[in-house]
Amino acid sequence: MTALPAEFVPVSRKGRRTLEIGLGCGILAAWLVIALAADWLAPADPDAIDLMAVLQPPGMDHWLGTDQLGRDILTRIMHGARVDIAMSVFGVLPAMLIGVIVGLVSGYFGGWVDSLLMRLVDITVAFPFFVLVIAIVGMLGPGLANFFLALALVGWVSYARLIRSEVLVLRDAEFVLAARGLGYQPAYILLRHVLPNAMAPIAVYAMSDAVMVMLAGASLGFIGLGVQPPTAEWGAMIADGQPFIAMAWWICLFPGLAAASLGLGFLLLSDGLAARWISK
């Protein structure tokens, strides 16, 4: 439900893990194609209400059935992929950017800058992630923009911690000392020498963070604080289907499977890359 603390960067035995990485990339690529080409691939219009065909079970006309307004579930899942993929990507990137900058500065310069920034980290992690996101979205109002803002405000912490611990080691590496001796500016050293060497754990963590961010976004959609109707989004679709769960299970079932499979793609990639790049 929540973005994970940095301790969760998976540690596993070294291996090439080609199958895992290939499978993860395949799933992600498939969803990306579906999301981009939803207008051409989808069999119907996502918002087309058809009161003659409400709550139809999966069949020839509607492969995954229809909801209480007669909208085609398959079509809405395909269009919903746009929102859910966008949530996982744009929910992660700003937080990553802020976290990387804070972590680099904090780890490289140390001193009072480091103390100040790390106190800020302590304060942010004191709040349960999901509660703080809900509180911020609740105060600013529902919608995607505020969700992204809330994630940027809350999510940078793990990245900052992760990269700071890498920088603390790299700071005294010989190539960094050499660069400093040659008189390069700190910004150049950080971006050119330190950051590339600290990128692997960040990339791995970002992949597993994407899963958690996507699930958090879908949870907000489920509560009614995410994307507003009638825009199709998986979490909101599950909320739509909940009152009809006794007679029409398909409204809830398929969007949930979609979310789980997208998450699986990110997680497989994250695990595989972790084994390849940063195993002990």
Partner: protein, 312 residues
């Protein structure tokens, strides 16, 4: 540095955090675009009436004076009144808190034994089919949306088989256990994979340690080495993780409470957000943060008491 000094340092470390979360919860409301007074008074209130109430609540003062007022009230346990229910927020929170605590405890009772069993199985048969099966379960458990799992379990075990109620909290202890089983299970299915991954990794790390080789060369049986040495040494990292997870659990229970209509802190939070009940959002956010800080502190102190090598 002695252990007592270390614990004292850890407590001093809390002060900036406590000040920080107070500031954040204060600014959360102050920086929000809406106007709590206008919401409280309703649409038909005159401008004069709004101005009077604003002055009464001290909302016309400079920001730092408002903050001083806020802290003063907090120290007396006053979180303000709910705009919706028109009763003190502190009472509202304390009234529903036992339900969320019950749920969290229930989840732990399900998750901890399950974690130990699965992690030990996976570590002792590392690389074999049972390890692979547990890994697949872990990955799936982490990617499935908890609220969706909740809806699906409610349909199958609640509506189809009628084994468990699908909503509410019940009256007696046994009814609580019965009502909260599905919510606790849904949360545990999400929590267990994270713990299993961690415990399995630390078990495997310990199994390769030198003292294990030494014990083996003395001729000690494998089962004995595992129970007496490996398991005990692996417990600490997972205890630390469990502390982090309990903090997560407090936040994670929000969505599960909504799915199963459990009238706990999570339902209160969502109700407040949807109804724009600013004081309740503020009070709950602060309360959640305090609970998290308390849990983390307890685990840290417990770790150092159990193992003096742990640095706070």
């Amino acid at each position: 540095m002695s252990r007592a000094q270390a614990i004292l340092m850890r407590l001093l470390h809390l002060i900036p955090v406590l000040i920080g979360i107070t500031v954040v919860s204060f600014l959360l409301v102050k920086l929000s675009p809406g106007d709590p007074v206008r919401l409280m008074m309703g649409d038909r209130a005159t401008e004069e009436a709004i101005a009077v109430v604003r002055a009464q609540l001290g909302f016309d003062l400079p920001l730092w004076q408002q903050f001083a007022l806020y802290v003063g009230n907090l120290l007396q346990g006053d979180l303000g009144d709910s705009i919706r229910y028109r009763i003190p927020v502190a009472g509202l929170i304390l009234g529903v808190m036992p339900r969320t605590l019950f749920l969290a405890g229930y989840v732990l009772c399900l998750a901890v034994p399950l974690t130990i069993i699965l992690a030990v199985l996976a570590a002792r048969h590392a690389g074999r089919w049972i390890d692979q099966a547990i890994r697949v379960f872990s990955v799936v458990g982490m990617t499935v949306p908890v609220f969706w799992l909740g809806v699906m379990l409610a349909r199958f075990f609640g509506l189809e088989l009628k084994w468990f109620p699908v909503a509410g909290y019940g009256e007696t202890f046994l009814e609580h256990l019965h009502h909260l089983f599905l919510p606790a299970l849904s949360t545990a299915i999400w929590l267990v994979p994270l713990l299993v991954r961690n415990l399995r990794a630390s078990l495997l790390e310990q199994m390769g340690a030198d003292y294990v080789t030494a014990s083996r060369s003395k001729g000690l049986p494998e089962g004995y080495i595992f129970r007496r040495h490996v398991l005990v040494n692996s417990a600490l990292p997972t205890l630390h993780l469990l502390g982090v997870m309990v903090a997560f659990l407090i936040g994670g229970s929000v969505i599960v409470e909504i799915v199963y209509a459990v009238p706990g802190l999570g339902s209160l939070m969502i109700g407040a957000v949807l109804g724009r009940d600013y004081n309740v959002i503020q009070g709950l956010t602060l309360f959640y943060a305090l609970a998290t800080v308390l849990v983390t502190l307890t685990v840290d102190i417990l770790s150092t008491l159990l193992d003096p090598r742990v640095k706070l």
